[in-house]
């Protein structure tokens, strides 16, 4: 059964159609990757699922329930977590409290209990901390637990953001370019984590990624989009060799795997 269903989704900014009648399904327990050239509308799709953007047309279903018009803060409660392309962490807090902020949807205390820090507030804090420690162990963030985000290197911050999303305890994880700007080793770590999240935690992952090495390694299915429209869908290799995809990246008449080469050159 599909966990996420996107039906004829469209959004227009002014006259520009950023996403145009796109439909896809993400099955429970799979890693589904969106690929496409810059400006293809991939992050816009994420932003509509996160309810930051209001779609002009179409519907989004999660777990059989329509979420097209829910307020943004209800999305995490349902079990959808996300990361951002350009890291959006809480820079002045420590890694630990960033992860704890991910536990917000599970809070059981009211403001007044927090003010008085009642027994229940303490118990709540302990349980959040236990859950967060699991995430810290999983992502090997022990060394950075009490460091301020502002002082951390880029690669670590990228991991912390994944950790914060995991702390929500989601069913569906949206990863927006988890490997961009990471070294080859760090990218390999991300690949392993994605595998583990899928196998051990039973997470469903919807990912945007340009690094075709990573995409091939972890994706069950890949959807290529260009100009907000459906281009091709299938396994990583099927999509990569699809003539429309090649044309979208390179124009006509050239063969090859441009994105992969670019990443290799950069790494």
């Amino acid at each position: 059964m599909s966990l996420l269903e996107v039906r004829d989704l469209s959004i227009a900014f002014g006259g520009l159609k950023a996403v145009d009648g796109l439909s896809f399904d993400v099955a429970e327990g799979e890693v589904f990757t969106l690929v496409g050239p810059n400006g293809a509308g991939k992050s816009t799709i994420f932003n509509m699922i996160s309810r930051f953007y209001e779609p002009t047309e179409g519907k989004i279903f999660f777990d059989g329930e329509e979420i097209t018009h829910l307020p943004a803060h209800k999305i995490a409660e349902l079990g959808i977590a996300r990361t951002f392309q350009n890291i959006e962490l809480f820079d002045h807090s420590t890694v630990l409290s960033n992860l704890l902020m991910g536990r917000h949807v599970h809070r059981k205390t009211q403001v007044i209990q927090d003010l008085l820090f009642t027994r229940k507030a303490r118990a709540d804090e302990r349980s959040h901390r236990r859950r967060v420690e699991e995430v810290i162990t999983f992502l090997e963030l022990e060394a950075h637990r009490d460091s301020l985000i502002a002082g951390l290197p880029y690669g670590v911050r990228k991991v912390v953001e994944i950790g914060r999303a995991l702390a929500i305890g989601p069913k569906l994880l949206l990863l927006d370019e988890p490997a961009s700007g990471l070294s080859v080793e760090e990218t390999r770590d991300v690949a392993f984590w994605i595998e583990d999240m899928k196998r051990e935690m039973g997470l469903t992952i919807l990912m945007i990624e340009h690094d075709m090495g990573l995409v091939s390694a972890v994706s069950d299915r890949v959807l290529a989009v260009a100009d907000g429209k459906f281009l091709a869908q299938g396994t990583a290799s099927e999509v990569q060799s699809h003539p429309d995809v090649i044309e979208a990246y390179l124009g006509t008449g050239v063969n090859g795997e441009p994105e992969l080469k670019k990443e290799e050159a950069g790494a």
């Binding site: 951002f84 959006e88 630990l96 302990r126």
Partner: protein
């Protein structure tokens, strides 16, 4: 550097990070409790004033330092607190009830103000709150039956179970009362910061977009922050009214709003300690200047004919801080402390990237 071995999560949840810190804070409170036994009346009045400013600073700090919402209108909430408290007491209410009601009324008012204010950001919020302060000032003058209009209103002396806490006839008692309120509010504030509510404030301050993605209702959080901030400021206003005994709208002008914001900024945004540091500075500058002025007149330099000197000094200190230490007094203290803790291993750029808390860039 002292290394703390943590054997349980409670070590991170507890209010104080180790016994030494708890002892130090306890000692500080004890010293503050003992002040009336060795201080002159004049000094004690100043200390009381500092406590009340600290309380107001704590209120503003919730909003500016921890939720990232600028307010240039907090004098309005001081005024609402002061007039509500005075009016209720004049109507025969006992102090405690009037005082708490004043805080609650101000809090509710702040939460109502938040409904339009949460849609604004940065500079617009600052200007809107400033306009609000002007409007409240006018409203105070017009609402003569409650506020006494231009003439002002009298805040009756506090008495609890027949014991006087009057500003003039039993200043030590009034001082202890203020101290108790400050300690209780600080305790609640510190609790807030170590729990989910406080974290949601910080989340909204540092990245609204992330906060929403984590399931934090940004509007609700900002409304709550406004409410709490204004409630605390309202309590401070209530005490301030008693401190003045007799006051009119001029006690709560826009300049007070500005001074309060400047105080918490110099003190150090984002730290409870910053509110106290700022309050101490703003109440101490005129005192220190008076001493300097006396000293100079002894050697023949007369500064008594120069009005507004304390504002000038305060402004210059502020300019210095904004340029050279945007983290404020407490931020500078943390840096010096880190330097000595790590001596000789500290790096110059350790604090480089955590400049200031309020980011309201023009977004493109």
């Amino acid at each position: 550097m002292k290394v703390i071995f943590k054997k349980s999560y409670d070590r991170d949840i507890d209010l104080f990070k180790d016994r030494q810190t708890a002892l130090r804070i306890g000692l500080l409170v004890l010293v503050l409790v003992l002040v009336p036994f060795f201080a002159s009346d004049y000094f004690l009045a100043e200390a009381t004033n500092t406590l009340i400013w600290s309380l107001a600073g704590l209120g503003l700090m919730v909003l500016v330092g921890h939720t990232g919402q600028v307010s240039l209108g907090h004098a309005a909430f001081l005024a609402i607190g002061a007039y509500t408290d005075a009016a209720l007491m004049n109507a025969g209410w006992p102090w405690l009830l009037a005082f708490l009601t004043a805080g609650a009324v101000t809090g509710v008012f702040g939460a109502i103000i938040a409904i339009p204010a949460i849609r604004m950001s940065g500079i617009y919020l600052a200007i809107a709150t400033m306009a609000l302060a002007v409007l409240v000032e006018e409203a105070v003058i017009l609402a003569e039956p409650i506020t006494g209009g231009v003439a002002g209103v009298f805040a009756p002396d506090i008495a609890i179970f027949g014991i006087s806490f009057g500003r003039y006839d039993s200043l030590p008692n009034f001082y202890w009362l203020c101290l108790a309120v400050v300690v209780i509010v600080t305790f609640g504030y510190a609790n807030l910061l170590r729990s989910a509510t406080g974290r949601s404030f910080l989340a909204v301050r540092d990245s609204e977009i992330s906060a929403r993605a984590l399931g934090i209702n940004v509007s609700r959080t900002k409304t709550l922050a406004f409410g709490l901030s204004c409630a605390i400021t309202g309590l401070a206003g209530g005490l301030m009214g008693h401190f003045f005994s007799f006051f009119n709208y001029e006690a709560f002008t826009i300049i007070i709003s500005i001074n309060l914001l400047l105080a918490v900024t110099i003190g150090g945004l984002g730290h409870i300690q910053g509110a106290f540091a700022g309050a101490i500075l703003i109440t101490a500058v005129p005192q220190v200047l008076a001493i300097v002025r006396d000293g100079l007149s002894n050697i023949g330099v007369d500064l008594s004919g120069v009005p507004g000197l304390d504002t000038l000094v305060f402004s210059l200190i502020l300019i210095g801080f904004i340029i050279y230490e945007p983290l404020g007094i407490y931020g500078r203290y943390l840096k010096i402390k880190a330097f000595w803790d790590l001596f000789p291993l500290s790096r110059r750029d350790m604090f480089r990237r955590q400049m200031t808390y309020l980011k309201t860039e023009r977004m493109k």
